[in-house]
Amino acid sequence: MTRLVTLGLGILAAGLALVAAFAITSLVLIVAGDPAGEVWGEILSWPESRNLTNIINNATVLYLSALAVAIGFRMNLFNIGVDGQYRVAAFTAAVVAGEAWLPGYLNTALAILAAMAVGAVWAGIAGLLRASRGVSEVISTIMLNFIATSLVAYLLRKAAVDAEGSNAVNTKPVPEGSRIGGFSIGDGPGEVYGFVFIAAAAGFLFWFVLNRTRFGFDLRATGRSTTAAVANGINVNKMVLATMCLSGAVAGLVGLPILFGSQFSYGSTFQSGLGFAGIAIALLGRNHPVGIALGALLFAFLDEQSNPLQILVGVSPDIVAITQGVIVLTVVISYELIRRYAVRLEQQRVARALAPSAPTPPPTSGPSGEAEEVKA
């Protein structure tokens, strides 16, 4: 019953946020003199199957990114460094898979493990600095993003292979046998990444570890109150390190659907900025694996549907960046409003439940029902 109410309130909050975001975006369009109706008509039209494929694929990538961010968020750690972590990790995976020391899917598995390990180490640096020296993980992960960029650039130059006639810089391609196949939906070109199942499994594991294990309990307890965690035997420094590593390991997966599903190498055109989108989506999804999935789908949907705007409606697809930004803001606001409302609701419920039967002892004093009657 209360769970349903909570869920309902959550959906209400998200719904309100979306409506507000769309209204604000429309206002921007109208003020700028652009055809708001046409823009929304284009964005909200039902995607063709090939677009649907793209949406699912991009959502998969965004989902993993947001999941990585959410692990930190659940402990009040702001892992801003998912961006750097996934790039270092994707590069590592590309090199490992490209070298193909192992045959077939063993090679894939090794590359995935390598990516997770590298992501964990990269994030772990920030965790270690935080745990041992109290360096804010926000600062250190941002700095590590810069270092990641330079490091990958430096190493990519060494690992790059030249393709005939091409000006692109790429690592050795992943051999055919180690690629992760996809499946088609509808009749358009393109396949949904097979990695989508790995992402779903990651989401389930996220839920299970956080909600069912001792480690997850410690993590959430630390997130809710560091002071209470310390007082109750949780080694917060250890948790910081472990959580950052876990977050980094998941961040290591972010680039892999692209690597094993479509691009097969790491190079100059590899998608960047995914870590930052992940922050927004984690906020939107309230750090819940299902919420994040919906948020990732929404962001991927908006990205995909906005792409042709410039060609078909003559409006820059940047308008969708506005929508996404506004969604993040309105979501934060509406979640907070709903949270307060829910707390009040809960307190009222407690008061109601206790009012008729539970006068404070000793019972000889006036029953609390008295006040109720006077009030009424």
Binding site: F217, N232, V350
Partner: protein
């Protein structure tokens, strides 16, 4: 300003009314609200408002100070009906408030603190200094405007707060639990100041639950229970604390006093030469040694900030850098982590339940797991046992009389007393041999207080060693088998609670007897 009013000798019952509250009502979901509060505060009197925690005193004062608007009722100040929608309104109407927690900037001087936010009144220079000196002398506050606040003791800081209020032209001063932070001697000084204020024709509203103090200083006493005014005593002669307390709770008052001794000669907790150095200062803990036996309650008395919190944290393993040995039932706790210490049999009721005891935004059953996540019934094989934890939460709710609709309610939704009962229940689970209780009844209502006292007595009877830290001397005297006084990180005296008086303890706590 009060100087324009001719000093009126206090004549309760006849002086003009400076604050008149009629039918004040305020409702919050789930908490006790104000309902039909009627109070007359007369000019030149000290008017005490007493009531148990949660009776609605704080809400009432917030209404009077403009922090919250009332849902119903009227406020008249000096004969004029006013609407107070902010503290600024209240100050304009001549109402000032001294909070329990001082709002002073330590690194500024008294002058700077006083003029802060009131620069328009007398500037920030010589005129302001002259005004502060004048007020200080007029009311015997003994404040030097140019001293840094950080150099002042608690009592002086409180007087600075009073001065701040007077400086802003208040003729009605509200003091919220002003004695909670003071030792007995300082309390007497404060009362002297308050009497000066009323001699000058000001009205003082004094909020407290320490009934002896109230009887000492107040001219009139209003008792609040369950958010409404029960009665106003205009003649304090012949009224006893016991009578007031009964008015407050509406029944016989529970007492903390302990039954027959259960102390055995078996040492459970042994602390030897415990020290905690502070970088560049005097040590936070200085060579502390004591034993607690099976079935013994050891009370630690002291003015807050003299090392009590550090002592508890050292025993709990939360303070790196401590030296000395701590042995629990023969086991050296030194190398053990906080969690290992808990699991070796320490139950811990922390001083600040919101910060250290609970996850406010988590359901009760998760709060049951907190601190016990490594043990049955909370977890099994590294997995949280939700069913086991919920069932055990139900047991605690039942046995410890936690008033809640169920284990899924957020901890935040419970009243302070019920939160504390949940903590006590949790900490008594898992068969502890040592219970550390830091201010276990702070901020809980009388009903819950009695219940918690009873649980501590039961623990003692069952053979636990109990380390009790409290600022409430009556509680210490009533529950402890032995009382140690802590001062500046050192144990400075051992007292027999059966023979000691609060005044003796107070002297030891402030170091008055130290020179001997």
């Amino acid at each position: 300003m009060s100087t324009t009013t001719a000093p009126t000798p206090a004549t309760p019952g006849t002086a003009p009314v400076s604050v008149r509250l009629r039918g004040i009502g305020k409702r919050f979901p789930g908490v006790i609200a104000n309902d039909d509060i009627n109070i007359d505060v007369r000019r030149g009197t000290i008017h005490a408002i007493v009531g148990e925690n949660g009776a609605g005193k704080s809400t009432l004062m917030k209404i009077l100070y403009g922090v919250q608007p009332p849902d119903s009722g009227t406020i008249e100040i000096n004969g004029t009906e006013v609407t107070l929608s902010s503290p600024a309104d209240a100050i304009r109407a001549g109402v000032g408030m001294v909070f329990q927690h001082f709002m002073l900037a330590d690194n500024l001087t008294v002058l700077e603190n006083v003029v802060l936010g009131a620069e328009k009144l007398h500037g920030i220079g010589g005129r302001a200094r002259a005004e502060i000196t004048r007020i200080s002398e007029a009311y015997g506050l003994d404040i030097d405007p140019d001293r840094l606040v950080e150099e002042l003791g608690v009592g002086a800081r409180q007087r600075v707060e009073v001065l701040k209020v007077l400086y802003r032209g208040a003729n009605v001063i509200i003091l919220d639990e002003p004695t909670a932070v003071l030792v007995p001697q300082e309390v007497d000084e404060l009362f002297g100041n308050l009497r000066e204020l009323k001699e000058e024709g000001l009205s003082v509203i004094f909020i407290s639950h320490k009934l002896d103090e109230v009887l000492t200083v107040a001219d009139e006493i209003t008792v609040i229970r369950r958010g409404t005014t029960v009665t106003t005593v205009t003649d304090t002669e012949g009224v006893t604390a016991r009578k007031l307390a009964e008015l407050m709770v509406g029944s016989q008052l529970p007492s903390p006093s302990t039954e027959a001794s259960t102390v055995t000669d078996q040492v459970l907790l042994s602390v030897r030469n415990l020290s905690l150095p502070a970088p560049g200062g005097r040590p936070l803990l200085d060579d502390i040694s004591f034993d607690i036996h099976r079935g013994e309650v050891l009370g630690i008395a002291g003015v807050e900030g003299n090392g009590q919190a550090e002592l508890v944290e050292a025993v709990m393993g939360m303070r790196p850098g401590t030296t000395g040995t701590i042995t629990l039932a023969g086991t050296d706790l030194g190398p053990l982590s906080n969690r290992a210490r808990r699991e070796s049999g320490i139950g811990y009721i922390p001083e600040d339940r919101h910060r250290h005891g609970l996850l406010l935004d988590a359901p009760l059953w998760e709060n049951r797991v907190l601190g016990h996540q490594g043990r049955a019934p909370s977890s099994r094989h590294g997995l949280i046992d939700r069913r086991g934890a919920r069932d055990d939460t139900l047991r605690i709710i039942e046995e410890y009389d936690v008033r809640t609709p169920g284990p899924d309610v957020l901890a935040r939704a419970l009243s302070g007393g019920n939160q504390q009962k949940l903590i006590v229940g949790r900490e008594m689970s898992g068969d502890p041999v040592l219970l550390i209780a830091a201010h276990p009844t702070r901020g809980v209502d009388v009903g819950a207080q009695a219940a918690i006292w009873q649980h501590i007595k039961n623990a003692r009877k069952e053979g636990l060693a109990v380390l009790l830290i409290s600022a409430d001397l009556d509680e210490l005297i009533g529950l402890s088998d032995t009382i140690e006084v802590i001062l500046r990180g050192r144990l400075v005296g051992t007292f027999d609670p059966g023979a000691v008086t609060p005044e003796q303890l107070g002297s030891a706590m402030t170091g008055a007897g130290e020179s001997a």
